[in-house]
């Protein structure tokens, strides 16, 4: 889990302004039941498509940690009639870019292609084959398992990864969000596991398709229909279970690194929770607002304890984490932890000042156009709205919702979501 990536996820939510509406999103269902969100934009000859499935790591069966990522990695490494080299060469010939990712909730596949018919058509045909007809060749699976294990073993030597894994394990001791792939769990995955995971979790009725760019509504409809027609026809899947809050506590892990890595937090927020807005405004002042937050001032500017320090909420399908994180040289770890705890405790007790509240609103509302000034950024927002079933006018209404937040709301929301008795601390490489 990469904190920077989480931060990006949250930032996508912080989009709004009174003077600028969001993009016009059209939405419909394909005949296979997939939900489609489309933003028409002809300013560049580019089409971006993202297909999301509820196929993240939280959907892995117990003992199968790693299968979600392997499945996602393998879909474009063999389709009926083409091997991995032919697929990659075809994409490169077209100048098309295929990417994707897996987090706790989602597995995503993303295609960027030029919009001219002789490029777009074959590129979308490839994506269709990848979505509908992956072959999961056994020898490719074995190779990718070995590469995954190698990368995992390397990452398990890194203090940031060790800290993050311990943090998630401590936040979610009995929940799928806390389960993480290990070299052994990856080695044990069989081709049948991958095929079963794909069949159960990559179904048409569960897919969300986001399309942005140089297509008409009619063209987008036929693209979405084509992409989803051949998907597995799985039924409703099991949801992600409710999170039980952990007992608070502290864990220290030794490591030879020069810097200690500190994480502090708890399970805090679901997507769609109305408190999101108050928490977002409040967190801007606490540790989200880059160089102007309280944590940055106290930890970095006043004391020179760290290069970066942050706090964020990562809303997920079920309670996602609130997290404070920083790195500092070993000898300063206790100081930095004490200062961070004091800043948090003070914020929980007092809430933001009126000046902080206004500064937060000014930035969150004023920066709205920057959140949506490229097709890629629009795609990320629209895909997130689609996957989590947020209202289509979510972006349009964001500014007024932010504007209405009061200091009292923030203090109350933090009191509901950040309860100190559940706070977990992880220190790797502290003295």
């Amino acid at each position: 889990m990469n904190p920077a990536k989480f931060l990006t996820c949250l930032c996508l939510f912080l989009a709004a302004a009174p003077t600028h509406a969001g993009p016009t999103i059209e939405s419909w269902q394909t005949s296979s039941g997939a939900r489609v969100l489309f933003v028409e934009n002809h300013s560049l000859p580019i089409v971006d498509v993202q297909v999301d499935f509820a196929a993240g790591t939280a959907h892995e069966a117990e003992g199968k940690a790693g299968v979600a990522s392997l499945t996602q990695a393998l879909v474009d490494l063999g389709v009926s009639g083409m091997d991995e080299t032919q697929i990659a060469n075809r994409m490169a010939d077209l100048g098309a870019q295929l990417s994707g990712g897996v987090d706790t909730d989602r597995a995503s596949l993303r295609l960027r292609t030029l919009s001219m018919a002789d490029k777009r058509g074959p590129a979308l045909d490839m994506l269709t084959a990848i979505l509908s007809r992956p072959t999961f060749p056994a020898e490719v699976l074995e190779r990718e398992k070995a590469r995954t294990v190698a990368a995992l073993k390397e990452s398990l030597t890194r203090p940031d990864v060790i800290a993050s894994r311990a943090f998630w394990a401590a936040l979610y001791p009995a929940h799928p969000y806390g389960r993480q792939a290990t070299p052994d769990s990856v080695k044990a995955i069989l081709r049948d596991d991958v095929i079963a995971f794909h069949r159960a979790n990559y179904s048409g009725s569960q897919a969300t398709v986001a399309i942005v760019g140089d297509l008409s509504r009619a063209q987008a409809a036929s693209v979405a229909e084509q992409l989803t027609a051949g998907l597995p026809s799985g039924g409703a899947m099991a949801g992600i279970p409710i999170v039980q809050l952990p007992a608070g506590g502290e864990q220290r892990i030794a490591h030879p690194a020069l810097q200690a890595h500190l994480l502090l937090g708890l399970p805090a927020l679901r997507r769609g929770d109305p408190d999101f807005f108050a928490l977002a405004v409040g967190n801007y002042s606490l540790g989200g607002g880059g160089f102007v937050s309280r944590l940055m001032k106290e930890v970095r500017d006043k004391r020179g304890l760290a290069y970066s320090v942050h706090s964020y909420f990562l809303p997920l399908q079920q309670l996602g984490p609130f997290q404070i994180g920083l790195q500092t040289k070993k000898a300063q770890a206790s100081d930095a932890l004490r200062v961070s705890r004091e800043v948090l405790a003070d914020f929980l007790a007092q809430g933001p000042t009126e000046a902080e509240l206004q500064a937060a609103k000014q930035n969150l509302i004023g920066s709205f156009p920057l959140r949506l000034d490229s097709n890629r950024k629009i795609l990320e927002n629209v895909a997130m709205i689609g996957f989590y079933g947020l209202p289509l006018d979510y972006l349009d209404r964001y500014p007024e919702t932010i504007e209405r937040v009061t200091a009292v709301d923030i203090k109350a929301a933090f009191a509901r979501h950040v309860r100190p008795e559940h706070l977990v601390t992880v220190v790797v490489a502290g003295e």
Binding site: Q97, S115, D118, E154, A166, A359, N363, L370
Partner: protein, 453 residues
């Protein structure tokens, strides 16, 4: 149109005029150049100030000062107090940051378009009036040391790269890391930062790049108003510090806590000095794309997928730089394979190009990706501003970009084979290996997970 001959032709065919707008340029009387690209797709603007001073302009004993000064640029002027710069950008609904490289130091803000004037006012102010307070410096130098620990000292692969550069270059300042050696950071003073600032932060050593929803004439007027009053100063003479010819292989090994070994091979290579006349740098760019430009390019296909020799393998080459160039090959061996085996595998790939050249379809594929990438870049104002700024930083006029793409399009298979033969010789090679060391057996929690309260 599968493999168009000219990027310009393709772009004219497919990209609306607005997105393809050319740039506008003006030089103020004090020497500051202002480059504007209008892009009206969204009501935002990217504003950047680039200084022609980076790590390569430093001297021994004060390495890292370019980057330290970059940090200090946020610590206030008489009219804008410490931290106030960030606060004002945030209040404007903007984002800002800065970056220091071997070749330059650059500052940027991304803001709603109506805030451009205020950003120029702030940048102009700190171009001349930086306070450089001793107490602020004392705090900030500690932040920079934490940054070095975070990004280099505790990152074995970064450390390997740092060691490699220090061996590949002996005279040229590219041997020094941009972040600076820790000892130099520990002994740096505010006077060092001030000396650097006085030397290099002057309008005739800077240029402004603006990309966004703006009118270029308006931008020129704003630039004149905010930057125009700053006076030019004479700049120090820049000594070339040319690297002597390397005449034999250099090898080094780094031991660090890690699990995956790394092999990194660095061959001295030319960079573009004359956009029109040069040939080899363009051929090296295409070689890099054929070797490692996509998932089925040679390195991944042969070394990772077919031979299972590596868990990853890549090539990297940048044809533009103020200093000398390097063509990198690097990767990590698979379990059960050794570093020498991977080294032999990488060498075999180069030998294959030397002996048998590259296929027409491989080259065509690399060119198709290049063209598409040029169009995708138009989706980001920031990326467009970066491209302009980086070309200018190495002394290439930004309007030469189209010509450079044309040159890349014209590279032949024979030219690719020729550069493979010419530059990939052991005499020009520095080879660095990461020898991973197991962590001490202390990874089990030192304390069990325990409630605090």
């Amino acid at each position: 149109m599968r493999h168009p001959r000219s990027i310009v032709l393709l772009l004219l065919l497919v990209a609306p005029a607005a997105a393809m707008a050319s740039t506008h340029e003006r030089q103020l009387a004090n020497g500051l150049r202002v480059i504007v690209k209008e892009d009206r797709r969204a009501p935002t603007v990217a504003h950047m100030v680039w200084y022609r001073a980076g790590g390569m302009d430093e001297t021994n004993g004060t390495t890292g000062v370019a980057h330290v000064l970059e940090h200090m640029m946020f610590k206030g002027t008489p009219s804008v107090g410490p931290g106030e710069f960030n606060r004002r950008v945030a209040a404007a609904g903007g984002r800002d940051n800065a970056f220091t490289s071997r070749d330059y130091t650059a500052y940027f803000q991304q803001v709603p378009k109506e805030k451009l004037s205020e950003m120029m006012q702030l940048e102009a102010d700190r171009m001349r009036h930086l306070t450089l307070d001793a107490n602020e410096f004392a705090q900030e130098i500690r932040v920079v040391m934490e940054e070095r620990r975070l990004r280099t000292d505790d990152q074995p692969q970064s450390l390997l790269f740092e060691h490699l550069a220090a061996v590949a270059f002996q005279a040229h300042p590219y041997r020094v890391p941009v972040i600076g050696w820790m000892s130099d950071l520990e002994n740096m003073t505010v006077a060092d930062a001030r000396f650097w600032y006085e030397q290099w932060y002057t309008p005739n050593n800077a240029y402004v790049v603006v990309v966004g929803d703006v009118d270029h004439q308006t931008v020129f007027q704003l630039a004149e108003r905010h930057y125009g009053a700053l006076s030019a100063r004479s700049l120090p003479v820049r000594k070339p510090q040319d690297e002597p010819v390397q005449a034999g292989i250099r090898r080094l090994t780094l031991k660090a806590p890690a699990d995956l070994p790394v092999v990194m091979m660095a061959y001295k290579a030319p960079v573009i000095r004359n956009v029109d006349e040069d040939v080899d740098p363009y051929a090296l760019e295409m070689l890099s794309a054929v070797l490692a430009g996509h998932e089925a390019a040679r390195f991944t296909r042969h070394l990772v997928r077919e031979q299972r020799l590596a868990v990853n393998a890549a090539a990297s080459y940048d044809s533009t730089a103020r200093g000398p160039g390097i063509f990198y090959l690097y990767g990590s061996p698979s379990e059960g394979k050794s570093r020498p085996q991977l080294e032999a595998g990488l060498r075999a790939e180069i030998a294959a190009v030397q002996d048998r050249g590259v296929a027409a379809d491989e080259l065509a594929r690399a060119k198709a990706q290049l063209i598409a990438g040029q169009i995708y870049k138009l989706d980001s104002m920031f990326a467009q501003a970066m491209e302009i700024g980086q070309l200018e930083s190495v002394g290439i006029h930004h309007t030469m970009n189209g010509r450079m793409i044309e040159k890349l399009q014209k590279v032949t298979a024979e030219q690719v084979q020729a550069v493979a033969k010419k530059y990939f010789r052991d005499e020009q090679l520095t080879l660095a290996e990461l020898d991973p060391q197991p962590l001490p057996q202390v990874l089990r929690p030192r304390s069990p997970f325990a409630p605090r309260h």
